[in-house]
Amino acid sequence: MSQYLFQQLINGLALGSLYALVAIGFSMIYGIVRLINFAHGDLVMIGAFSTLALVSAGVPWPVILIFVLAIGALAGMAIETIIFRPMRGASPVTGFIATLAVSIAIQNSALMILSGQPRNFLFPAFMRQRIEFSGVNASLTDLVIIVLTLLLIGGLFLVVYRTKLGTAMRATAENLMAARLMGVAVNRTILAAFAIGSALAAVSGLFWGGKFGQIDPLLGFVPGLKAFVACVIGGVGSIGGAMLGGYILGLAEVLFVGLLPQEFSGYRDTFVFLLLIVILLVKPSGLFARNTEERA
């Protein structure tokens, strides 16, 4: 494999990790409450600015990671309890408009508090170096992002498939009413899904700021939309599908920019959303859908 292609691969996997972290939460929430949560992308922004605040306060990085996870979880739980719980059972479109409203409210509140001025924070110096092995070199930041993401996703799979909470989640996703009749505390389970998904999205924000070096209050919107695209690729509602969808999307985007001539790179987002429309039309249940669900 040529060196250039290898670097693109690493780059794509890192970007894919960012999308996967957001997409998994998106998919979990959809799987359980059938809600396309547009405000989910804004947790990326909340995570990024929390990181900025913690870095400025001089908190060490491993602690920052844990704090950001906690802040994301709390924010997700707050959104669920205050806004989405009273609306549970509303029509899908009503729920969707509500999440759009929450997203706009979060973005503009952040704009009011933080101003539109872009800011940045830096990962510690050792993470910014490039490392070499067998002739090819890669950025350590990207490698750390990939490894940490895989660890987090591994942890998530353990929770979902090896704990009582995970069983409750899967049961609720399968059939909310039946789960409730079987004694599953449905509200608590939904709250947990929001907490876990939001925590992952917030960590994605931490990585986002570290990788791209610039953050602003509106930064969550496009990743949120792209997470949806990733979910659609993988089949909305499936956690593994969302993860794979995130990686496919990250790689596709990087290869699109890397392999085509320079003048096409501006069309990156156009390409992603054309991809979305094509997949929705050709294979609406996603590439790896567990169960075929009515999408059209």
């Binding site: 929450v102 509140s109 501006g266």
Partner: protein
């Protein structure tokens, strides 16, 4: 649809005495025109422009009532069609002298033309309608939030094209210095046109067929309604109106950029439709008026306190509150009683 609303729909079918309704509508338009004439003499230029903006917003909301409200297609694609319409009209009306240097990739026959507003507006609407027709067949197979996200994607696709197609669109900086052809009379005329068309469609068998598709597509199909064709029709008419509104707005503020019509705008129009009640023309008009006035009057507050985004937060919270307290909006799918009596030409049963 609730039985009460069905009764309303039946009671207000215009074939009763169409003349009376028409006379009432004409009277309202004349009175409004006189009011605008007086207002445009007495008010500052800024306020009159704001009024024009309000009219165009109201027309946008009403046009979305047709697509989203009556037919139940949850489309967020209005800004995409507005952008298309605005660029088409802008390229047609832009001064031929400056086209050569600013838009070098235009074909010769386009580079040498300099149209006036009306033909440019019609071609803009046509362009929006054709694009909607081309993608409608594919996209409208989706439903609910999948359609919403696909149309949201459409906004980003159109923005991407407008940003990167430098020689035709001048890229990210957009086309500025457009002739200011549009004044309050254009905006008012457009609003009257959009309301009239939407009203006629709503209270016809076509409108009832649309509502049938919204309520239960399968049942509608079973009673012989061609749902697919009807959905495309509603989508295309909405897109034509959106494209024309985009062209009018661009020639009101004399500039169009890829970001002029954004997702935020789509959100704001949808809010107007939802708060007014999905399918209610008067509801959309009222909500558009209130929201435009509220957000414009908050602008000086935002600037003086430095709290940019305040009005959007308030609009978003209002929407959440309405969804929570009255999910069907102000008037549901119907029109307020007074309006119905005035225009339908028939008393309540």
């Amino acid at each position: 649809m609730k039985a009460r609303e069905l009764n309303e729909a039946r009671a207000i079918t215009p074939h009763a005495t169409p003349m009376k309704g028409f006379v009432a509508a004409a009277a309202v338009v004349v009175i409004a025109a006189i009011a605008i004439f007086v207002a445009s003499k007495g008010l500052s230029n800024y306020t009159v422009t704001l009024l024009a903006l309000l009219f165009i917003n109201a027309a946008l909301a009403v046009s979305l009532t047709l697509t989203n409200g009556l037919t139940g297609l949850f489309s967020l694609g209005h800004p995409a069609f507005m952008t298309i319409g605005a660029y088409v009209a802008a390229i047609l009306t832009f001064s031929a002298r400056r086209k050569g240097s600013m838009l070098p990739d235009l074909p010769d026959w386009l580079a040498s033309t300099e149209w006036s507003m009306l033909p440019a507006l019609l071609v803009a609407g046509l362009a929006g309608g054709l694009v909607a027709l081309a993608i409608g067949g594919a996209v409208l197979r989706l439903k609910g939030h999948y359609l919403a996200v696909a149309t949201l994607g459409l906004i980003i696709v159109v923005q991407g094209l407008a940003t990167n197609w430098d020689g035709i669109t001048r890229g990210g900086s957009g086309i500025s210095g457009l002739p200011r052809y549009v004044d309050i009379w254009w905006a008012f005329g457009f609003l009257v046109l959009v309301v009239a068309v939407t009203w006629r469609i709503k209270f016809s068998s076509l409108g009832r067929a649309m509502m049938a598709v919204r309520e239960n597509e399968l049942a509608a199909k079973c009673s012989g309604i061609n749902a697919a064709r009807l959905k495309i029709l509603a989508f295309v008419i909405g897109a034509i109106m959106a494209a024309m509104a985009g062209a009018l707005l661009a020639h009101l503020i004399s500039v169009v950029t890829p970001k002029t019509y954004s997702v935020l705008l789509a959100f704001n129009i949808v809010v107007m439709v939802v708060i007014g009640g999905s399918g209610s023309i008067m509801g959309a008009l009222l909500a558009a008026t209130v929201i435009t006035i509220v957000s414009e009057s908050l602008r000086p507050v935002e600037e003086s306190v430095g709290l940019y985004g305040l009005s959007q937060v308030i609009v978003a919270l209002c929407l959440i509150l309405v969804l929570y307290l009255k999910p069907s909006g102000l008037f549901g799918s119907g029109e307020p009683v007074v309006i119905r009596k005035l225009f339908s030409g028939r008393q309540e049963p």
